[in-house]
């Protein structure tokens, strides 16, 4: 059987890749994609713990399903916000989103 630590290290690496995307990219939609990568990495963690630590009560899988629902809501609202800002400013570059700056 594959050790649990392999899954944990893999999901840490995937989380790091998503974090690099969020911090370095300037396109709002790319940042949304990177957030999805991070959410899936944490979901992998939850399911791995559920398989190895409590295989009989599958609470980790329940949490993974809840995280999925939250992620779907997040994408819908995030895309609506990006579309509205794009309509107003003709750009999705985060460096130009300074309408709240004073």
């Amino acid at each position: 059987m594959i050790p649990l630590s392999y899954y944990l290290i893999l999901s840490a690496v995937l989380f790091g890749i998503g974090l690099i995307g969020v911090l370095l990219r300037r396109n709002a939609i790319t940042i949304l994609l990177s957030v999805e990568i991070m959410l899936n990495a944490s979901n992998l963690n939850l399911v791995a713990f559920s398989r190895y630590v409590t295989p009989d009560l599958i609470s980790g899988q329940m949490f993974a399903l809840f995280v999925m629902a939250i992620a779907a809501a997040e994408v819908a609202v995030g895309l609506a916000l990006i579309l509205m800002i794009y309509r107003n400013m003709q750009s999705v570059n985060l460096d130009q989103f300074n309408i709240f700056k004073w």
């Binding site: 594959i2 899954y7 399911v47 009989d56 599958i58 992620a71 819908a76």
Partner: protein
């Protein structure tokens, strides 16, 4: 499934997941990035099947590959000239960010390596679908109801935000 086969499956899935995640983050074309995100999500669902979580794996394919990626593609196509925008990142931040994220991942790996987890030897649940259904209607009934209200609120909010102003 014997040990060596599952290890081969794990490592090939891991290589595919890391490669497609890197392609999403570094890609210059947004459309291709969304497609690679779809590939990444499929690979993650492969991990769920490897971990005996069949319902979560199926839901991953339904909700993410069938829903989220399609919505993201709509968003990319509706903001049309974005696809050929030169996607540049602020160069002066790159070194510090890579060092910080690398340090975080290294720290997490060290912590995982030194922690002893209580690995249970019980055989995992075979029929996860019916157990998850029962749990949704008994132990997790409150979070279930809350999340349905949250989803409704998010959908209405998305429609209200994205609607063009001045048209009622």
């Amino acid at each position: 499934m014997n040990d060596i086969v599952s290890q081969i499956i794990f490592f090939s899935l891991a290589a595919m997941a890391i490669a497609s995640a890197i392609m999403v983050v570094t890609g210059r074309n947004l459309f291709h990035a969304a497609m690679f995100l779809g590939a990444y999500l499929l690979v993650i669902s492969g991990f769920y099947f490897l971990l005996n979580a069949d319902l979560v794996g199926i839901m991953q394919v339904f909700v993410y590959v069938g829903g989220v990626v399609v919505v993201l593609l709509f968003g990319i196509m509706l903001t049309a000239q974005m696809t050929d925008v030169r996607l540049t990142s602020a160069l002066e931040q790159r070194g510090v960010t890579l060092i910080a994220v690398g340090a975080l991942v290294g720290l997490l790996a060290l912590v995982v390596k030194d922690t002893v987890f209580k690995i249970s030897q019980i055989t995992p649940v075979k029929d996860t679908t019916s157990l998850i259904g029962k749990l949704f209607m008994s132990d997790y009934i409150l979070p279930f109801e809350v999340i349905s209200v949250l989803l409704l609120a998010a959908l209405i909010g998305a429609v209200v935000i994205a609607r063009e102003e001045g048209r009622s």
